[in-house]
Amino acid sequence: MSTVLANQERLRIFGLLSPAYLWLTVAIFLPLSAMLYFSFLSEVPFGDAEWSHTTENYEAFFQTSTYAILLWKSIRLGLIVTLVSVLVGFPCAYVLAKVIKGRSREALFLLVILPFWSNSLVRIFSWAIVLRGNGVLEIGLNAVLPFEVDVNLMFSTPAIVIGLVHSYLPYIILTSYLALQAIDDNLIDAARSMSANKLTILWRIILPLSLPGLLAGAVLIFVPVVGSFMEPRILGGRVGTYFGTVIEDQFVAVYNWPLGAALSFILLAVVLLILAVASPVLRRAQT
């Protein structure tokens, strides 16, 4: 009797879970495996193309320094965008979680998170309108300032950084806010009553307790920025060549899919390495 029930339950679990996980397998996990296989081919194995197994796509990465330099350029962009977002976003999350009280807090929080859920491409495009020479930023600044300034940030690295920070800032505010909110106010009051000054409270209580949330946000920003290609293309123009744009090119312009697959996998390895390093802290953040 009990084995019948157990079997029935097993069937039910299987029935509920398998459609979703089958879908993920077909759309995510099999494609990733296929890409790994492709990265070891000399040619795309469609049609009558001659192809063989090879490691030359990975060798290409090491033979010239071009790819390594671009990968480092992307990693550096990721670090800069993450650092700026943390410095800008953490104080903002603190104000939301600890300074503002009552109903307005929820509304303000929603207002900060809302742009994140709107179209990222469109938001990058909106920066292109603001930053271009003779654009709104230049006209606005010249209207306020007593002297003429020339602001043409378009097609520059700062433009890319501004656009990416704008895209991912809500992430760090969200995760830091959730971590900061969990800190008991009594703890801060207790420290204050024992005459700890503000810096001590920040350094010894607030930062250590919110660190998991802060790091989770940092990883959530760093990973997509390293793989970004649309933002550098639109805001960077000629200076916007990054590891991501090179991968994009292999698939939509050069049509060297095996090389693109190998480069994608190198990027994935970097991402997984970073996630692995961060995972002990992130696991602590969950509990």
Binding site: I13, A34, V88, P115, N119, F125, V136
Partner: protein, 261 residues
């Protein structure tokens, strides 16, 4: 004394952040009503870009296609995701933790990598580019969000309610239909809206999977931007931002996304 000063400074900072987040969007919206093609100031009110938009069949087609794809994605992802959430919540079994971890790759791996991998695989199995491929990809990206949101709602579910229903003679299916599902319905609605937003705003995966001339709205916008600025793109972008923000505002009402409540 210094406390209130710091508090004021903090609020000023928050105000600056909000300005930073919304100013470019407002500039874009503003410019879509400007007569000049090159965003020249002074501002001269005009609806001509919206009129041009109404006659641009390429953009209208792409918009219709995007909405259609988003609706199909939402339906599939919500049904599959809700079923999976219920199983993950209700039952204890071996490998459950592994299944939960499996939800992270679609979210954590950069879309550039998943998108190109899908392109390779779908070509490999003979499906190639096109709307079916785009939908398969979108559902996979939306599923984890649905599962996370519905699971969060399920976590607040009081299991004694089910026991009570069962003790009064309701069978498993009736309990699910009459007790569990009504309780998590707000979570399901929120999950569905998230799925819609994920699909409707998705650019990267659609970019690699959609066929040229048969593309979704974000892909069309990207190719138009790269060809040069057009104020019609401004107008359609403004409409997109308004639509997706409205969807998310509704979603926020259904999930307690804002934290404690």
């Amino acid at each position: 004394m210094s406390g209130t000063f710091l508090a004021r400074l903090g609020k000023l900072w928050l105000a600056l952040i909000l300005f930073f987040l919304y100013a470019p969007i407002f500039v874009m919206a503003f410019m879509s009503f400007n007569a000049s093609q090159y965003y020249q100031l002074p501002f001269e009110f005009s609806l001509k870009w919206y009129e041009k938009l109404a006659g641009n069949t390429e953009i209208i087609d792409a918009a219709t296609r995007s909405v259609g794809i988003a609706i199909i994605t939402t339906i599939i992802a919500t049904i599959l995701g809700t079923a999976a959430s219920v199983a993950l919540f209700r039952f204890e079994f071996r490998g459950k933790r592994f299944l939960q971890v499996m939800l992270f790759p679609p979210i954590a791996i950069p879309w550039l990598i998943t998108g190109t991998a899908m392109l390779i695989f779908f070509f490999g199995i003979g499906l190639g580019r096109g709307t079916p491929s785009v939908i398969i990809g979108h559902v996979a990206l939306a599923l984890p969000y649905v599962i996370v949101v519905v699971s969060a709602r399920l976590a607040t579910f009081d299991a004694t309610l089910e026991e009570a229903a069962r003790s009064m003679g309701a069978d498993g299916w009736t309990v699910t239909r009459r007790v569990t599902l009504p309780w998590i319905s707000s979570g399901i609605i929120a999950g569905a809206l998230f799925a819609f937003a994920v699909s409707f705003d998705q650019f990267v995966v659609s970019y690699f999977l959609s066929e040229p001339g048969d593309s979704t709205l974000p892909v069309l916008i990207y190719t138009s931007i790269r060809k040069g600025f057009t104020p019609e793109i401004n107008a359609i972008s403004t409409i997109i931002i308004v639509v997706s923000m409205a969807v998310m505002l509704v979603a926020a009402r259904f999930s307690n996304f804002g934290g404690e409540r």
